[in-house]
Symmetry: C2
Subunit: 260 residues, 2 copies
Amino acid sequence: MQNKPQLTVVKIGGNVIDNPDALKAFLADFALVEGYKILVHGGGKIATKTAEGLGITAVFHEGRRITDKPMLDVAVMTYAGLINKDITAQLQSLGNNAIGFTGADGNLILSEKRKNAAVDFGFVGDVISVADELLKVLLLQNIVPVFCAVTHDGKGQLLNTNADTIAAELAVACSAHFDVKLLYCFEKKGVLTDVENEDSVIKNLTFENYQELREQGAIHSGMLPKLENCFNALNRGVTSIGIGSPEMIKGGSDYTLITP
Amino acid sequence: MQNKPQLTVVKIGGNVIDNPDALKAFLADFALVEGYKILVHGGGKIATKTAEGLGITAVFHEGRRITDKPMLDVAVMTYAGLINKDITAQLQSLGNNAIGFTGADGNLILSEKRKNAAVDFGFVGDVISVADELLKVLLLQNIVPVFCAVTHDGKGQLLNTNADTIAAELAVACSAHFDVKLLYCFEKKGVLTDVENEDSVIKNLTFENYQELREQGAIHSGMLPKLENCFNALNRGVTSIGIGSPEMIKGGSDYTLITP
């Protein structure tokens, strides 16, 4: 393990992407992260705004979004087009040799259309595999891959895919070649014992104390699926996972460090 | 020269992109092109349609299009997003390991905002340099690069750039490592002596007979700038250039072959 080179996989969401100043500040910090690195970004309000502008209405089924063809096109336009290429150009100006990717590019992330007996969620994909050998070649060329939340099914169809999942799957696949740290940046400082109190960050979580805290009801229920996914990723080879604010990537704030 | 591997650079325009069936047929042919290859695509009516949908009006100055910020965003959404990623996913399904690029990705095409004393054309870039070493690494990995008509200035700004120029600059830069054939697919069968007659294709053009034909007025004036650019690319290292219909790439029709 110790001999593998370090790789940091960072995921950012709408809270950073929707604010041009916050995005700029984040990218300046990200550009300074040493070692090999990958950035994964979610969507943002620009997708909703573009859909509205084009007169496309979001379709929901029991509160869950359905990605129909017009909405997939908007996702591809805004995530893979506008947002991804803006981030790539900004990182280039900061001296990082970024390349923006969907999962279709280089077959980097192959997925399959979500199967659900009851509901057709539309053009939504669940990850099947990651082309870790090509990713390794690119990283060793000092390329900084920037992934958006779009993958493909290998049969010509693009699919919208959850950005948190993409980050986790990239981190797991790359752990074959790298010592991988996965950082989830979100709107809180970390996993909190009291959601009202930003100072209640749990600084260290292992599977053992996670189980204790969960039984005590000390972790907000909304965080439990995210944490289950984190422990799953750790079981599959990721070395450590951080959950916190974007400041986390420069060590500028407390955050939750999750280890096996 | 003989020892360099073969590279084919193919450029397609709106006439192929605007017609899903034509695009599908073209990509099936392109996927079968042997050796290293690069695809460059222009825009298409989808950009105009998206702009209209979003209520963005095209700005012109003396008949020439001005790319203002909203129009640049539409170009990035449709060229780098929708069109580029659709082509990439289709090529993947055909067994070509395609990656879709703007010039910002990997700093592959650096450009500068067009300088013009009289008119500000907006976010339009003229190519300065191509990262041929990285392109070579990618090609030797059997990656099929797919370029859209977007580049960047290295300072964080994306720029709209003529797809014909991108194809020529890629071909010239790659001729340092490859024996490069550049194929321009367009709506005619080739350079015609009689624009009304598709059977009047000039099958072979060298600089010598081009000069003669030009003096005789046997070449339509609209083709002259394109041909001047072709001879310029040949002077800078490209081995040969084809101008013809998309059928040309599979040898399925007459076309104009231009050599020094």
